[in-house]
Symmetry: D2
Subunit: 389 residues, 4 copies
């Protein structure tokens, strides 16, 4: 296989998981701007996600968020999985939610009150039950836990509670199931966050065992943090479970991945490839909020941005790079990387799509498909999906 | 008058304006945790604000937010002012809101569509009408305007629109009325913010004229920004109109002022005193969100934090400081400042309160007053006030 | 002229000024790593700068730094100018230095001691004398002034001293001469910096008059600051005098421009074009430290990075952009900008160079030229140029 | 023992190690301002450090830096230790230096060239030899290693080299000897730093074994990082080896500890106490640069700042705090902490000093001692100590 053929083959196997909640309304604390045609049910979210896969070819799974995507009945999730399958997609990771109940005002799994912790852990265990039903591999855990004021709670005791709760959930995981622990620098807690950085997530996952892995949300770091370094380190430690992709200029802006700093996304994808992480062991997920832009096209664009960064990373001449690095030629080594980054990979990706039987331009194809008009016309009445809905 | 007497006299004249919205529910984009007993009407917010003044003695005015505090009828605002007066407080600044209407998805006064801009400016003009009715001096303008993605709109054209809209509102101001223009680093817009820093606010105010002044929200700066420098600069330029006090560890956390970095608050208050800003020309306002803590006691605590910082700033031995500065003795100059900061001013403030006929401990006095229990018992049903309510 | 021809024409007129000091040794506070072949005299710096212009065609001027590039004799600067001219380049901006004398421990133009201020202002006046001799248009002022500890000096008094000193220098400027005032977030002062942001520089320049302009160093901002917004604003105000280009991941790293965030550089160049700043009124200068990489090739690479960003900015379809912006189509507007950014402009620039009679690949041509080997062989002995040398 | 007696007893046992290099000249990349009377030899540094201990009573040990404090002869270090002992102090941690040799341009222990790595590891082994001679317990390792440009070197390979080098040094440690691994966010490397955060240091120390511990330099974090959280976490993991105390407003400013954010220092000391870290297992060291202020008084002031923060932390009513935390009373819990912080502990510390037979005011006592004048008069000629000297 020629080198270019190998690049194309890799691009065809790429899989980006889209999140059900990104199809619903979202916003800031100041305002949620509702959009027309937004899904009202988990099924309608899957319908939209299937469109993203139909036009990109590389978004075959959809992450669920519990309880937002909760369905009733003993066969509810099996039916939901069938709904997805009928449209060409599969259910992906199960995301827990321990932040939108009044009981969680002072935390969930780290709360000072054992009763609230019990409730939170029970929710996580329920999520594993759902994973059994949906045949999901990954339980993605993000905790909003933390404190707003110095002294509010005991930092160390909260770590003890966290460890205890995680251990109970870890024990419940079945064969082939994993726990992905997400860290976040701050928000919604402002003084302490109980899993604020990769080090904390890593330390907990290490103690839990092999099924516990760290997930990197690209928007969850302090200003100036070198994210690709963390990616390289976690891969070296065998502890990178996946990504929540998005982009940001300031805090956790949840913008389209690659929109704020496409060079950073390229560097991240290069470290993924370098570290052997371009495999099914690392889950590539989007976690974004399309507050003001059209949602489905934004997700298509995001998937394409990941593809473009991946294509550029695949094009890096790794032998030339290694040679320049060995020789200590700073400029030459940098130039090898930049050569790949500066390449316009859009023609290559259009070719790849052609070979996959797809339209070369997913955004235009979606626009022509009439789906946007159809959902605006049909999804009238009912309760639109959104944060908390 | 002895020096200590002068300090006490200054502390007795202090006036901190509390914001009506801080008495209502608030939260993050993830969750608003409702509290019991929260006001349901502008009148009930004033009742709570009056309690803060009753126990602190230095919170005599209450800022309104339009439309959240809108009242009906030709005499509505006069009646509201009377309601306040009957409880010992007055109405303060009028805060506009051009961010919670669906039309404002892409901005308000800077929106690409002239019709939306018209609507926004009309709202601001209506706010001046209300100022006439409430006899408020200050119109406080904070714009959520900005963009999320590069290219989304034309940065410069938005400045032109901003200038045009502000000019129209400025012309409408009556004698003795002012426009306070607030800047904010980011949020809810993530890529550009149309008034992102003091320089932009200053440049606009300069062109508008003397009635336009800059307002400094202590949570609206990039990491590491020296806020007291901005305070000193704006005072030197005659352009500091007031403060929105709060505190933050990361972004615009809107925590109790003085909670995150009390030393910074002290330095700010020192520059206020140094620059002659401890006068009625500078409005000292709170702008906070008490997401997880009890609201009225949090506001009382915030007012007390401002008092403590002010007391320490008043205690700085300015002659000794100037002498050390002149001599280039870095350590001695720093030590003079730290001496004041390290002083425990709580006994002094207890004395001041005693001389003002107040309980020495406002938090305890409020707790004993039964008000918290009363509002929980009485404010049942109806729609609690909150962001957007 | 076709559109592409116009783009090419614009690229051929581009002029990037390189700084004499970037050819010398530099480092961090921890270590200056000396390189072989580094210039020992102002003349040798010009020789190197001429090489950069020879291979790029767009680096026709060289900024001097006084006293580092001070020459003796009544005709010293005329001879230096002739030395430059003989090699195809011209002398550019004069950069002052009021930070490397022991007297400046507590500041220069803002120092509490009038004698030190006098010395600093005299140095600046001397720089204008040199400008007369070198026929330089621009005096570039960067002040290391500030304080390290709260209380160390009076923030406001330092502003008064700054204003006074600047005014005296401004008065001395001749016809056609300008003062470019640079701001910097922090370093080497850690608590306050006397010109910390564009707002402060702008306020001073506004009072001084038309010959005083702000210069934007791309590395001198707080984390997360939107630099292109500042560029757009200063151009709108008629106060953008020029750039000090470099790039940074964290603080003022002084890396090759475009190396850390090429997308940001593109956005900056787009605002320059949008605001009419791609003209001789705005000086495009490099200000970089090549601590570990070969200096001349790094500067060539930097000039090329500016060219590439400019080419992409020139390729933006401004009509399509304006249409998408007007229609409020966030994704379409962003896509227009990204289309230009994602274009590989290196073939176009190779063409431009060919048409200018240059080698298509300046880095390779320089490497082949033997200059690097020649200076290593010839520049033996003497005192290498470097920070302070 | 009463509670207050216990607080006093704890304060009397406190030990803060001062660094030999802080007595010498230091500066920024822009300028090192030399001061009169600065030591010229390791012995003179010890003389100065002994003065700090003489007046504070809690600075009994002095950290050395190799090769800056290298002494000759087979008995050199024994004599140095005796020199210290004669003056009432002891030698403390040995600090390695793998950043000030030209060979280290691209790194030391992580350098791509095995020969350079060998040299670096040999230096570290030599440091352990010196520890044997000085009877030091701790080898403090800070690496300037990193890269400035994307692609410059392989991130992961550098981690492999780091692990290999550390392992060799770890093996060499004797009984009772420890390796303290320091992390740093950035500087002098700007793109990647090979030990950039506590997570990386922790992961390496965990693999090395019990003698490897993490050291927290309070200036080495990204903006907004919650340092006390890291302290609590490392203590919980049994991996906190010590502190390098200093303070900063922006980057690694190396100002006097407690000068920039005294409330943060208090919170850190509270977590130290809470986590059982106020013991000999955690080394409390200063690592500061007194660029513009008098060095010995600045170090005395720094030691006092640590004392004041410790005293406040000791005064926290931990039972009341725990009760408020358990009850979920955010404001009450915060108030308990703030009560201790707002206390003026200077009278208590004056008392403690009196009971220790010291002057109540170490700064004034030092000033009266004549030492400053003596060293200015006597330390004439020779080479002043400084960065690299």
């Amino acid at each position: 296989m020629t080198e270019l053929a190998a690049v194309k083959a890799a691009l065809k196997t790429q899989a980006v998981e889209t999140p059900s909640w990104a199809y619903g309304n979202s916003g800031t604390r100041f305002k949620v701007f509702a959009q027309q045609g937004v899904p009202r049910t988990p099924q309608e979210k899957l319908d939209d996600a299937a469109k993203v896969h139909e036009f990109t070819g590389v978004a075959p799974t959809v992450a669920l968020h519990i309880p937002w995507d909760k369905v009733d009945g003993s066969d509810g999730y099996a039916e939901l999985a069938k709904h997805a399958g009928d449209r060409g997609v599969k259910l992906g990771a199960i995301n827990s939610n321990t932040f939108q109940d009044d009981d969680y005002r002072l935390g969930s799994i780290c709360h000072p009150d054992a009763a609230v912790r019990r409730k939170a852990v029970d929710h996580l265990l329920e999520c594993v039950d759902i994973m059994d039903a949906t045949e999901s591999r990954d339980l993605k855990l993000w905790f909003a836990d933390g404190t707003n004021y110095p002294g509010q709670d005991d930092i160390r005791a909260r770590q003890d509670r966290l460890a205890e709760g995680l251990a109970e959930v870890y024990e419940r995981l079945g064969d082939g199931q994993r726990m992905l622990l997400e860290y976040k620098f701050f928000e919604p807690a402002f003084y302490t966050t109980d899993v604020p950085d990769w080090g904390t997530a890593y330390a907990h996952c290490l103690k839990l065992g092999e099924k516990a892995q760290v997930v990197v949300d690209t928007g969850h770091h302090a200003p100036g943090t070198n994210i690709e370094f963390i990616v390289a380190t976690l891969l070296r430690e065998g502890k990178l479970g996946g990504f929540d992709f998005n982009s940001r200029f300031y805090a956790d802006d949840d913008l389209m991945v690659g929109a704020a700093d496409p060079f950073q996304l390229f560097r991240i994808m290069y470290e993924v490839l370098r570290g052997g992480g371009f495999s099914s062991e690392v889950a590539f997920m989007l976690d974004q909020c399309h507050n003001i832009e059209a949602k489905i096209p934004a997700i298509i664009r995001s998937v394409m941005n990941v593809q473009e960064a991946t294509a550029k990373a695949l094009l890096v001449d790794r032998e030339a790079l290694a040679a320049a690095q060995r020789s200590g030629d700073v400029l030459a080594a940098n130039a090898v990387l930049m050569d790949a980054y500066n390449t316009d990979v859009r023609p290559l990706l259009r070719e790849v799509r052609g070979e996959m039987g797809l339209d070369a331009d997913p955004v235009a194809a979606y626009a022509r498909s009439g789906w946007a008009e159809k959902i605006v016309a049909e999804r009238v009445g009912g309760q639109q999906a959104g944060w908390g809905a």
